[in-house]
């Protein structure tokens, strides 16, 4: 049935053998030169595993007619003797945007009527730019776009890519989150229909927002991911709805026609691959998550940082397209630059060239892309570095030829130099992986393309100039093509050249008084070759003369020695490998291995803040085993062999919990593109590569709720995490926590320009509207109708339904008491409870209302007066709330503050709250709010072994965390921290020196 609705046409063009299309009209005479060539005596890499020494390739009309040793060369063939040369199969670029038109920005800006309206669509001459057709209402969803149809040959780009060995490219539309259908094109010359090899190869998806498209939504990475997910759900609905309608349309409204979803059907049904590009290894995992959720056939365009978390990629079943655009040398030429450098960036500089080799060694289907390197002409250099850093040559060849050909399903014709395949190859003057090897010719479809010589003809140098066979002058020339400078030297006299110009062929200049005649201007002109200039000149008398110059010095001293040095240094660098292991996360204080879970740990003689009925145990003991607390009490008898820590004089508390934090979130904390964004999820955008996770551990924090920002009345879904430093995002998630939804009221919501709401009045209404819509949605969804269109899965409203059904709790940002009262009444009307108010600055004014409703209060200690709605903030807020029976917790809302929550609790104790209760506010109370109090938040038998050992009384202000444990694993140790600091500085210095040596 699917096919009936297929709007996108899948077609395979069998590329013509001749340069001209068969259907084109011929004007004038026909060109019919014979196209039969034999390449003899070459070293031919038929494929990575089949190398012919002294081999011959015979090509006829663009195809390889024969290849082998001692093959017969037919009489009609034109023979090239390639003694000493290498022939490689042409490289296939899997990730390019060659021939893709760019959006005319000027055109967009001129369209004023559009710019003024919200939801302004993109405009201009760009194909499909207007709102005319049946496209998606979001300009970032361009799955309908077809690269093949828009392909416009780009001679210069193709030439540049050819010069680096490429003959075929997979081209990907550059704009949008759903970028559209890709195409495979030849890198030869000709018109679009000569070059397009295959269309609709893959659907391309990106996490980046193209500003050129001028959409309002999304504005954040979590919004991008939500949009991708909703679009696939919509595709599913689109398929179903049309199927139902097609079978029996009577009594039904016709479902919308939408090219965006129609174009996604193949990808959704796993018939077409989806190529997703990632900016770092964590983004690569995000791509994988999306592919898994919708069972997509993923091709991952990797970031080049995958080696940093290779363990996450070992068992994957999708191909990885790896770039070789290794980081540029960090700036280390002076102290003021190096002090700003992170160890992370230096380590990446050091290890990035090993990324392809490390991926390859895991047995992953790998393709190498020149993305990021071909335009600067650096591709081969980086490829050679890749091989030098461990990638076998044959693997590199596969990754550039047969692997991409197989993926693109063009391996019948491309990817090797076997008989019957396309005559796509390049000829090099040596092994392509040797530094000095140059590509001389590229053949595509039997047509020869010369490669631009890397060293252009220059007139630069020191020349012995003779006039009428008298060698009396030294000519010095210097400059770029165009303007030159120089001088003539004779008898130690120097004559400045004027108006010197070089146009790649001819040099012209003037000089004065050279021939001993005063005030005489002499004009010179000459044809330049590598070694000589033959010239003609004119004297002031009008008399012509001939001159000749022979090169005696290149005068490019700055250039050549550098090149030599580079090679030497690279060899040296290999010997002095400073660093090879990968830290997790890949930065300062990263771990070489996950901290071990202790089998048995007995901590004794310590003051234990149990935060349970046991209160504070002086000289207490705890027993930890396999990640759990096994026993809490006094004078515990540990099993034999148990590790013992005597913590006399120290204090032990549960691991601290911050129920409101925004750290480690990639790509913006707020999705501001809409007022209601419950479809967004923090768990999609967790970034474990954040030094602050370590610093939070150093402050005793073990658990936090990471929340969407407060720009939206209904924000995104939260993620409760444990600070498992070095883990992957999915390993940080605290699975058992109650799912939560961020909401927000007041100034931040109102502050968003040109968006409803502008007042607290409107805030109430838009929340009401959203929950009403959720109820309507449920009614539609659950209606067991005999007949009708299927319901459309709405990932935004489903989340609100979860709230209404009690499966998800609300954490509502609010400062003023009026708005809290409003939301409480609204929630009661809709039958749910606000789990907690966030900040709750004026909570103390309505503590009874909060208590009665059952809302918890998450508060600061002493933040005040930074904005109008914070003016009534008081330090007794927590005390009053606590006294009135409101479940009260402290929070930071700020990563730096979250590193010292024990001091925050200390300040609360200073306002007259009992110390134990103040400690509750950073341990068991937030645990209750997050629904994890049965697992963490107190030191009790059976709970997770998440705890902190403090140097002294944790609330008085003089204490620091000595050890922080999560799941019975020691994640922070102050003593080790001091040693690691030294190692960090040493390593940073070593790497800096290595960069310097590489200069």
């Amino acid at each position: 049935m699917t096919k009936a609705f297929k709007i996108s046409l899948i077609f395979l063009l069998i590329s013509s053998n001749s340069i001209f299309g068969q259907t084109s009209n011929i004007f004038g005479l026909r060109d019919n030169p014979p196209e039969v060539f034999a390449f003899d005596n070459a070293r031919i890499m038929v494929s990575s595993g089949n190398i012919l020494f002294d081999g011959t390739i015979l090509i006829r009309d663009g195809l390889i007619e024969n290849v082998g040793q001692n093959i017969d060369i037919p009489d009609d063939a034109w023979v090239f003797d390639l003694e000493g040369k290498y022939i490689y199969p042409g490289f296939i670029e899997l990730y390019s945007d060659i021939g893709m038109p760019s959006i005319d920005k000027r055109n967009n800006n001129n369209n004023k009527s559009d710019a003024n309206s919200r939801n302004s669509n993109y405009s201009g001459n760009y194909p499909g730019a207007s709102k005319r057709g049946a496209y998606h209402n979001n300009p970032h969803v361009r799955s309908w776009y077809e690269a093949a149809g828009q392909f416009k040959p780009e001679k210069d780009k193709a030439q540049k890519m050819r010069s680096q060995g490429f003959t075929v490219a997979h081209t990907i539309p550059p704009y949008g989150i759903f970028k559209g259908n890709t195409a495979v094109v030849s890198l030869g010359e000709g018109s679009g229909k000569d070059l397009v090899i295959k269309s609709n190869v893959a659907q391309a998806i990106s996490f980046d927002i193209s500003p050129e498209l001028q959409g309002d939504y999304p504005t954040s990475l979590m919004g991008v991911i939500a949009l991708i997910r909703q679009t696939f759900h919509d595709t599913d609905w689109f398929l179903d709805a049309h199927k139902v309608y097609y079978e029996d349309p009577v009594g039904m409204k016709q479902p919308e026609i939408n090219f965006a979803f129609a174009s996604l059907i193949e990808a959704y049904n796993r018939k077409q691959p989806v190529i997703i590009s990632a900016r770092d290894e964590i983004a690569s995992l995000r791509a994988e998550n999306i592919a898994n959720e919708f069972d997509l056939k993923l091709w991952l365009k990797a970031s080049g940082k995958e080696y940093r978390r290779l363990n996450a990629f070992v068992d994957i079943d999708y191909p990885i397209i790896v770039p070789v655009d290794f980081p540029e040398k960090p700036e280390v030429d002076n102290f003021e630059k190096t002090i700003e450098l992170s160890l992370e960036s230096l380590m990446h500089w050091e290890l990035a060239p090993e990324n392809p080799a490390r991926i390859y060694k895991e047995g992953i289907d790998m393709i190498i892309t020149s993305d990021g390197t071909w335009s600067s002409g650096e591709f081969l250099k980086q490829l050679r570095l890749t091989v030098k850093r461990g990638l076998p040559e044959y693997a590199a060849i596969d990754a550039l030829t047969i692997n991409p050909a197989r993926l693109l399903q063009i391996d019948e014709k491309y990817g090797t130099l076997e008989k019957g395949k396309k005559a796509n190859f390049f000829i090099a003057d040596g092994n392509i992986f040797e530094p000095e090897t140059k590509i001389e010719e590229v053949w595509i479809g039997g047509r020869k393309y010369s490669v631009e010589k890397p060293h252009e003809l220059t007139a630069q140098g020191k020349w012995q100039l003779s006039v009428n066979d008298t060698s009396a002058y030294i000519l010095e020339l210097k400059g770029e093509v165009g303007n030159y400078q120089g001088k003539l030297i004779a008898d130690s006299k120097e004559y400045e050249l004027k108006n010197a110009k070089f146009d790649k062929q001819r040099i012209t200049f003037m000089a004065k008084d050279v021939f001993d005649v005063d005030e005489e201007v002499i004009r010179f002109s000459g044809q330049v070759s590598e070694e000589s200039i033959y010239g003609i000149g004119e004297r002031s008398s009008g008399e012509f003369f001939n001159w000749k110059a022979e090169k005696i010095d290149n005068m490019d001293d700055d250039h050549k020695p550098e090149k030599n040095n580079e090679n030497e240094d690279e060899d040296e660098a290999e010997e002095q490998k400073v660093f090879s292991c990968v830290l997790r996360p890949p930065m300062e204080y990263g771990l070489t291995e996950k901290p071990k879970q202790v089998d048995c740990l007995h901590i004794k003689n310590v003051t234990i803040w149990t935060q349970s009925e046991q209160g504070i145990l002086k000289k207490g003991d705890i027993l930890v085993s396999n990640g759990k607390i096994k026993e809490v009490g006094k004078n515990i008898d540990p099993p034999s062999g148990c590790r013992i820590i005597d913590a006399s004089g120290k204090h032990l508390t549960p691991g601290l919990i911050d129920p409101h934090l925004h750290t480690s979130i990639s790509g913006r904390v707020n999705e501001t593109g809409n007022a209601i964004v419950s479809e967004t999820r923090v768990k999609d955008v967790l970034n474990p590569n954040n030094i602050w996770i370590y610093r939070l551990l150093a402050g005793g924090l073990t658990t936090a709720n990471l929340l969407h920002g407060s720009a939206n009345p209904i924000g995104g879904q939260d993620a409760v995490v444990k600070m498992r430093w070095g883990s992957l995002p999915r390993e940080m998630i605290f699975e058992e926590a109650k799912p939560g939804l961020k909401m927000a009221l007041g100034e931040n919501v109102k502050a968003m320009q040109n968006r409803y709401p502008d007042t607290r009045m409107g805030t109430e209404q838009i929340i009401r509207d959203a929950f009403s819509a959720a109820i309507d949605y449920k009614t539609k969804r659950d209606k067991k109708q005999q007949k009708g269109l299927p319901y459309r899965k709405d990932i935004q409203l489903e989340v609100l339904l979860e709230v209404l059904e009690g499966e998800r709790v609300v954490h509502a940002h609010a400062y003023r008491h009026d708005e809290m009262q409003m939301l409480i009444r609204l929630a009661e009307e809709f039958g749910f409870t606000i789990r907690s108010f966030e900040h709750t600055v004026e909570g103390y004014k309505i503590a009874d209302v909060l208590a009665e409703h059952g809302a918890a209060a998450i508060v600061w200690t002493d933040w005040s007066s930074f904005k109008m709605e914070a003016y009534d903030a008081i330090i007794y807020n927590a005390r009053l709330l606590n006294e009135q029976g409101v479940l009260t917790s402290l929070h930071s809302d700020n990563t730096r503050l979250a590193t010292r929550m024990h001091w925050e609790a200390g300040k609360i104790a200073g306002t007259g709250v009992k110390e134990i209760e103040a400690m509750n506010m950073i341990t068991i109370n937030p645990a209750k709010i997050l629904g994890v109090d049965h697992l963490v938040g107190s030191i009790e038998e059976g709970k997770h072994a998440d705890f902190v050992i403090w140097s002294q009384h944790p609330l008085n202000g003089f204490a620091y965390a000595e050890q922080t444990w999560i799941d019975g694993r020691k994640y922070f140790d102050r003593k080790k921290d001091r040693e690691t600091l030294k190692e960090v500085l040493k390593l940073k210095n070593n790497l800096t020196n290595k960069v310097l040596e590489n200069n």
Binding site: E336, I339, E340, L341, S342, L343, E344, M587, E588, I691, Y694, R695, A698, G699, Q753, N754, D758, Y844, K845, A847, D848, D862, W863, S864, S865, F866, K867, M868, A870, Y871, D872, I874, I875, Y876, R879, L880, E883, Q884, R896, T899, R900, W903, G906, K907, A909, G910, T911, G912, E915, L955, N956, G957, F958, A959, Y960, D977, L981, V984, L985, K988
Partner: protein, 429 residues
């Protein structure tokens, strides 16, 4: 649309203030000391000398007249037994917008940043709003004197040391001008840096010419230049220049400039001072650390980079003081900064000095403030424990012998809403 929204916001803000006005009542300036007071049996933490257990402090007419174990208590003295309590000198906050700001994001309530780059003439004290709600907080939290500092531009203006008790700014000036505030330009943009330094130096050159010409003004007439006039006390060495810096290059550049100008300076906000300790030490520059909580600014720095800065400077023998954050609302956090420094290596005694005696010395008011000593102001805090402990509560503050009204903005609302809950309770009983 946008404009309307802004106007509504402004109207709203203004209305909010008008309706909030009654809330300010109850935070009364205290009356002058009428009779001698003797605080007896307390633990007297003099800061300048030893801790005196079971000690007595006597003060009269706002000045301390006796401190010790066996001191004569005047017959007319009001004796207060402070057994079990601790006595500390009142604290000094060394850099705040107190009195110059009410709500940070409501620009109408801000008065610390004057238009233009060169404002040596503007005086913090004349814009000091004695009824700002934040002042009552400073007072009840044991801060007797706040160094109120303008900011912005190159020369921001004159800082003033203000007493936290009084009816209006004239009564509350403790010392003004205290110092001239300069913002050192960022060292990253060299053109901007050079332009700013050139502008600053040029201003000083003009001030020297002006100073010289003014001294012979009976012979020659010179018009008044109030900007240059304001710089003369700096040139004469009467007041220092307080230079705001953040990185090590700014520190070094500012020191060089000061040396060339031959003026005394205090460096404020010395985040990376640990990198250039010998330079600061050689030139004997006192520094204001206001960044204990600011945290590391580079990925490679240890987590306690700024927590441990005071300890590092102390060990190096640099004269320093600890200040809190600039926001008036955060003035009460001053001792928290000192406590954090103790947790990360600063001896407790030093931490205490860094918010009392050291600022008094560095600002030249130590003959009046900073310790519990005979002859100094009777600005004293009574606590139930170690002043630096977060859990400690301040029970009474005396400022120049005046017993402070301990009511503040926070307690007022606390009382108001406690009353609400009492009534609810009564109703339900």
């Amino acid at each position: 649309m946008i404009k309307l929204k802004l106007i509504y916001q402004v109207i709203f803000s203004v209305l909010f203030f008008i309706f909030s006005l009654p809330a300010i009542k109850g935070q009364m300036p205290s009356a002058l000391q009428k009779e001698p007071v003797a605080l007896v049996n307390g633990t007297v933490v003099t800061v300048s000398g030893d801790v005196i257990k079971n000690g007595t402090v006597v003060f009269k007419d706002g000045k301390i007249t006796a401190v010790g174990h066996d001191v004569a208590i005047p017959d007319d003295a009001k004796v207060k037994d402070v057994k079990g309590k601790y006595l500390y000198p009142a604290m000094i906050h060394s850099g705040t917008y107190l009195g110059l700001m009410e709500v940070f994001r409501v620009s109408e309530t801000l008065d610390f940043n004057e238009y233009g780059d060169i404002n040596p003439n503007v005086r913090a004290e004349v814009a000091f709003n004695a009824d700002s709600r934040h002042i009552s907080l400073a007072r009840s939290h044991g801060i007797a004197v706040a160094v109120v500092t303008p900011t912005g531009g190159i020369i921001s203006g004159m800082a003033a040391a203000m007493l936290t008790d009084g009816w209006n700014w004239e009564e509350m000036v403790y010392k003004a001008p205290l110092g001239m505030v300069v913002n050192w330009p960022s060292m990253d943009n060299k053109t901007e840096r050079d332009n700013a330094i050139a502008k600053l130096s040029e201003t000083f050159k003009k001030a020297r010419r002006y100073n010289k010409a003014k001294q012979v003004s009976d012979k020659h007439f010179h018009s008044t230049d109030i900007r240059l006039e304001a710089i003369i006390p700096v040139l004469n060495g009467d007041i220092p220049v307080i230079i705001n810096v953040s990185d090590y290059r700014q520190i070094q550049s500012a020191i060089n400039w000061a040396e060339k100008e031959d003026i005394q300076i205090i460096l404020s906000g010395v985040n990376q001072a640990d990198l250039v300790i010998p330079h600061i030490k050689d030139k004997e520059i006192p520094v204001i650390i206001n960044s204990v909580f600011s945290g590391p600014s580079h990925q490679w720095e240890p987590y306690d980079q700024t927590f441990s800065l005071p300890a590092k400077l102390y060990e190096a023998g640099i004269r320093f003081l600890i200040s809190g954050e600039a926001s008036a609302a955060n003035i009460i956090r001053l001792p928290n900064h000192a406590a954090a420094a103790v947790a990360h290596g600063l001896p407790e005694k030093e931490a205490l000095k860094s918010i009392t005696l050291y600022p008094a010395k560095i600002f030249g008011i130590d003959h009046r403030l900073g310790s519990i000593e005979k002859g100094k102001d009777a600005s004293i805090i009574i606590t139930d424990g170690n002043l630096l402990h977060l859990t400690t509560q301040i029970q009474q503050v005396y400022i120049k012998g005046r017993k402070s009204d301990m009511m503040d903005k926070h307690k007022l609302f606390y009382k108001k809403y406690s009353e609400r809950y009492n009534r609810i309770k009564e109703k339900s009983n």
